[in-house]
Amino acid sequence: MLYAAVAAGSFRRYATYRIATASGVFTNTVFGFIIAYTYTALWTARPHLGGYDLPQALTYAWTGQALLAATGLLTGGGMDELQERIRNGDIAVDLHRPADLQLWWLAADLGRAAFQLIGRGLLPMAVGTLAFPSALPASAVTWLLFLVSVALGVVVGFALRYLVALTSFWLLDGAGVSLVAMLLCMFCSGMVLPLNVFPGAFGEVVRLLPWSSMLQVPADVLLGVHDGTGAALALAFQAGWAAVLLAAGRLLQSVATRKVVVQGG
């Protein structure tokens, strides 16, 4: 299938950047240590903050580092490239292909995420688990649910970044929108602090936003916070956002390709 080949190609493509991967692993591990020490101090001062005990909080921290590259919590995660292609007009080449633009980029992003989950996620997670107390599950089913949840998180992350990237059809420079999107994502995904730490209505709202699908929900699935139906609901929540955001992306895509100038001679 075409899109499977696109995903596989994208995987191989990211696999060629060995030094970038190595330095990414190093960075993730260092940041993991910093956040783990911070959380240790925080959860020692306020035990059971947000319903987590210390090992759960620490596992949350390392899950964040493991998913950071894959779901694109901090970076554009590959969408900078789409933005650049729109800006310089290379998108004309993509549009000419007898393939769907969104599916193409989704496939490429899934391939990228798969590589980064393995290449950049496994090692920091292993180091963190050895160096700190951890609450990793023993059940294979939980791990399986976690992987599904991560996959859905990647799709939600992609759908959000795709929307941001498409704004480049109207805005000649997408840097501002990207920056706002990145900050929103960093905070609302639970990257800075787990979202269940936030009290009251604010916490309720943040947990319902799509960004929570990218870290908070997968981490909770891994930590076994939900029971059986709860886990199913969590996955349904992610799938719902994925569907809504992908549909929004399609809509914006059709408006963009119909109306907007393909830039550059």
């Binding site: 299938m1 290379d90 080449v93 000419h96 007898p98 100038v261 393909v262």
Partner: protein, 346 residues
């Protein structure tokens, strides 16, 4: 003669081609009828004020290209060439007029048409930057659902004619410009397209790569009967490949006919540059040529582009101490500006 205006378009100056590549064919493979593309651009006018400006990139173009033809589509920068190609592929929707390729409206059925069309945007690449060239071709095979046998046959042919063999395992980012361009041209042909649009396929290439690309295109056109529309800056591309040439300027078709006719209309001239042994007074008495510039021992002689350089060279060599010489071809900008100058003269 006047350059085609809106009332006379779709006329422009047309020369009937003896081989029937002119307007005689009723249903061309590519049909444009009064096609327009208008962009609206916002321009700053003062601190806060923005003015909406209309840019007519393509301003009422009509032409017809029969199946199997190889046609040059030339014009200066910003004339509307690439915009036309983008409308032909369906990436841009025309603001007005009627456009059909193989009977299909490209903007409405872009994907369906794309399976029958190959495009090379010379300054962009369809290849996958970080992966071996071969991988991009595999992707093309899946994208266009090329049957295995046809794919292998086409790839072999391209590899042979474009010397791609050693390049297949090389990541595209490591290819030189000429190699990449050859790779892109092959990618556009693997699915046996009926029509091939080439937007500046020789831009930035060295002489050897250019020759290779031209030879290949000639072959593809002759062998498979692929209709080719070639956009270029390089008149030599046209001279070597196309019997018919269309000139576009400011979004309008200003000439449609044979290349000789273009030279005649544009009164274009080639230049013979000669290096003499020593400084001498301007060369005189060479039939058909006149000396236009003298700089020390070097002199420039202009002669009509349609005329052979041989008699000019031999006439000079006979009577002057010749050290070195070169012939410069007229460029498109030159020809077109002369066309305009000619059209306003009485």
């Amino acid at each position: 003669m006047r350059v085609g205006t809106r009332d006379t378009a779709p006329g422009a100056r047309r020369q009937e081609e003896p081989d029937g590549t002119g307007r005689r064919e009723e249903h061309g493979f590519i049909e444009l009828d009064g096609v327009e593309k208008v962009f609206h651009v916002r321009r700053k006018a003062g601190r806060l004020r923005r003015v909406r400006e209309e840019v007519r990139a393509v301003d009422g173009i009509s032409f017809s290209v029969p199946r199997g033809a190889m046609v040059g589509y030339i014009g200066p920068n910003g004339a509307g060439k690439s915009t036309t190609v983008k409308m032909l592929t369906g990436i841009l929707v025309p603001s007005g007029g009627r456009l059909r390729v193989a009977g299909i409206d490209p903007a409405r059925e872009r994907t369906r048409l794309a399976r029958r069309v190959g495009v090379v945007f010379g300054q962009r690449t369809t290849l996958w930057w970080d992966l071996p060239l071969k991988d991009s071709y595999e992707l093309v095979r899946r994208m266009y659902r090329v049957p295995e046998a046809a794919y292998r046959r086409n790839l072999e042919r391209c590899v042979e004619l474009l010397d791609l063999g050693p390049l297949l395992p090389v990541p595209v980012r490591q290819l030189s410009l000429g190699q990449r361009m050859r790779g892109d041209i092959a990618a556009a042909l693997l699915h046996d397209p009926e029509v091939l649009y080439l937007d500046e396929p020789t831009i930035g290439l060295d002489v050897i790569s250019k020759a290779k690309v031209r030879g290949f295109l000639r072959e593809v056109n002759a062998e498979r009967g692929t209709t080719v529309l070639l956009t270029t800056h390089d008149l030599t591309d046209i001279e070597q490949l196309c019997r018919r040439v269309m000139v576009i300027d400011h979004g309008r078709l200003v000439y449609d006919g044979g290349l000789d006719g273009l030279h005649a209309v544009g009164r274009s001239e080639r230049t013979l540059v000669v290096d003499l042994e020593r400084e001498l007074p301007p060369i005189e008495g060479v039939p058909g040529a006149r000396t236009v510039k003298v700089e020390g021992p070097r002199q420039w002689l202009a002669f009509p582009a349609a005329q052979s350089a041989a008699p000019v060279v031999s006439a000079v060599a006979e009577r002057y101490p010749l050290v070195d010489l070169s012939v410069r071809e007229p460029d498109i900008e030159d020809v077109i500006s002369r066309m305009y100058a000619g059209s306003t003269a009485p």
